[in-house]
Amino acid sequence: MAVENKIHPRNRTAANDQPIAGNPVSARLESGVGNCFPGLEFDIRNLERRFFPFFAVDLIGSFALVMDVNIAAARLSNEVTPAQLTIYERLARDTADPDEPVWLVLFIEANFGPYGDMRFELATAGGAGRPADAWTAVRLIPEGGPIVLTLGQQQRPERLTLEGRRQAYLDDRGALRSFFAPGEMTQSLCSPWTHDFRDCGCYYWASNHPDIVQIQKPEDAPPSDEGDRMIAWQRSVKGTFENPPAPARPDQRSAEMAYYEINHRWQELAVVLDGREQGGAYAPKAFSATPLPDMATLIEHLEYAAGVELAVMQEYLTAAYSLRQNPVAAAADDVRAANAEIMRVAIGEMRHLRAVNDVLRELKQRDAGGPFVPALRVAAELPAGGTNFRPVTFRPLTAATLTDFIEIERPSFSVDGLYGRIFATLRRDVPGPLADAVGLIIAEGTEHFETFLFIQEWLRGHNEADYLGPTQQPNPGNALHQALQQRYATLLDTLFRAYRSGMPAGAALVAEARSAMLADDGIAGACKALAVAGLLVTFETPNDPRFASIPRP
């Protein structure tokens, strides 16, 4: 057998700490998932093959087939009675005999978790009050729990009974027990891998792979509508920039390499950076957001960024509570999902608000540039792509509103976006984890952008009237509206005190603020009351200099 050389880099990580062209600024070494995507290294269902002592079963639908009997181990065990050993001997003989019909597990008597104790007949899987299939049933049996199996062969009357305990799959050190055979955990994975790779979409396979791309562009070629259009990455006909293949379509499988073809040609799949196929040496665009000139400007931008987080959070709450409480049945699932996702994003913005304040606090402490004052002033205007800004507006979740949300979360294509410049400044001037904290905000913004694209997709198929509820602006004096404003001002005050105290001193106040956001007698309750009354959730800027609106820098 050839001896393979193996080499493991031990101290290369820190030496390679530099932004890599083509990756988002937030990418870290650990961001690469490669082929180690959790769950895809092996097929976890194979653990259950060994749920019963001394043999392996294949679990397929409602069947459990005895495949392999470890008779040597059964003979050595002092937990196997002579009568049981006779049965194991019989199963071992029959399993090794190709002319003998396979033995099946017909009944399992055990505790099945939520289904309770029962003698489960595998043929009835999927029925009311029963596990969905044989694998689910076995998976539910607690480790060490007693099991009685009834085995039989198809078309034959004889029945065998075995007693045992549900096996532990791991040993004391957390490693797989030695009774698992080499290859057993991976045996059901797709082979050859190219078939799975071809069929999986961009976000699924072990590592993301592109679905649609732009074709390689010759150096100095001018932009071209045809050459720059999106085409299938796994396409069969490669084409050139001057003579590109047909544009990508929703159903493009016929244009893609077929199974047999991709087995032979997978290596022709181009490396894709910045959404475009690359040929020769890649000339990287370094991350080059212009750092801000000084600490004072950085702090000004961070304070405005906090205001932006606060303002978009308000707009998202308005939109979330504009969804109908009882949408028409056909839209119900999509509306529920949209609501949950917008609320999740809104909560994410509150975390960003906290993160920005943490960064500000740290900078003030390091720079000794005056005392830290929590940044809780709502932005007067929001970035709206390029050099444009728009006022904060409270609108129901119409298609136009959603488009604005997508725009504000869209990853900054101009590298000089708000957080891009903050990130560049911190990376240059401030050692330690502050730049990473901002990198995370940037990364989560990208995730928010994708979420809104999903919401757009979910709601696209419905009429607005089917999912939109209240759209009426409340009168300024409306009691429900006033209740919300009052609770909002109280919340800001709590947050102000919490942020000013820092951690851990402010922890109790942060917890109090969180409760106030979610409680029935807090922000959530006030928003809900407005929605039930058919009114739009809107926010007024409190008459308090600490929370006065903040202009863009």
């Binding site: 050389n5 080499i7 031990r10 000084d294 000794a368």
Partner: protein
Amino acid sequence: MTTVYDGHEASCGTCSTPEVLLFDAGDESSLFVVDGSQLYGIDHATAMDLRARIGANDSAGLDALLRSLGVDRQRRIGDAAPDIPLRSISLAIAQKCNLGCSYCYAEGGSFGRTESTMSLDVAKRAVDRLIRDCSTGERVNIAFLGGEPLTNREVLIAATEFAAALAAAKKVQASFSITTNGTLLTVGDGAFFERHGFAVTVSLDGIGEIHDQLRPFKGGRGSFARIIDRVQPLLLRQDRMQIAARVTVTPQNLRLFETLDRLIQLGFHSVGFSPMLASPTGANQMEPSGLRDMLAQMIECGEAFEAHVLNGRRYPFANMTNALREIHKGTHRPYPCGAGAGYFGVSAEGELFACHRFVGDERGAMGDVTTGIDTDRQHEWLRQRHVHFQEPCNGCWARYLCGGGCHHEVLNRGRPACDYIRGWLEYCLKAYVRLQKARPHLFGLTPANAFSL
């Protein structure tokens, strides 16, 4: 069938060439590639193959194998002297001292001259020279040394405040450090150091009598009790300031573990050792046999460090934490320190020297704070001191970690400590491999958080 590569008997101790070091740590063979300070775990077959080529003096074959393994063979350090901007100075604000340590490079604090103190004007000019050419966000360090710097407290305070204000105005990040014998420390000094986040280093050569013998007052009285009395209130209030103990190791105080453990218990933020290699009179210098003892004891301290860290406890043995950090960062450099490059020592009169130890020494003279750095002398210094032009450094695997050894010691005594340095670095490389395997999260992803305990 068993291949000849199975099992440990196939591998043996450490072997090296000027390009690689091969060693075993735990049950793993490791390859240290000198250029770039790259460290790799390798399988036994690869180790055998490398050993065979090293044994056969087959440098072409070795290089080919390294390349086939995917080891980065790009040359990182050329022969040319780098251009390094000034980022750090030390101010010899008092060229006098109240102690009379037998081995002192400053010969009682005065560097063999008449006792003198630095005027505030000289200190300000030095600080201004340091900060004036920095851009926003850059970092500088100002170290106060002597003699005993606290004998000139007024200038220490005024120069620090001047530097802090100038740095704030220029948006430069200034950090401050001081090395003191600790006998004159006051609670007021502690508050001042705390305010400016000083890194304070106190020289202590052992516990009690051992220290007293090596670092007596000029009258001969011991100084240990006095120092501990003075430093203890400060140890309790380390927040922005950090107080380290530095032990100069001579043949008289080779009880390192006891010293380390006691000083850590006293609350020092870190404790480090450094051998006395060249004293002006030759007194208390370390000889090869002493250095062998010292290495064994350093490793004993290192093993204590490993045990503590594996149990999740901080154990601030500075030589070890520094070495692990540098190994993790892959530090590789052609000089032992920044002397004469990004760092200069300023004498009480305002002359610039390659470092604090060269104050008053013509060999390290590099201009003065008024006329600036004598760049011709600086370039000549950097050209001559480059490790590629040191013997026997250019054939040593440790050259980019060690950098050729302290210039001051080398110029005065040569290189008596190479085996000690290599032995210590080899131990640290092994400890790094062991710790990284057992506790990978001790080591951060970026140079800034390279080692986190």
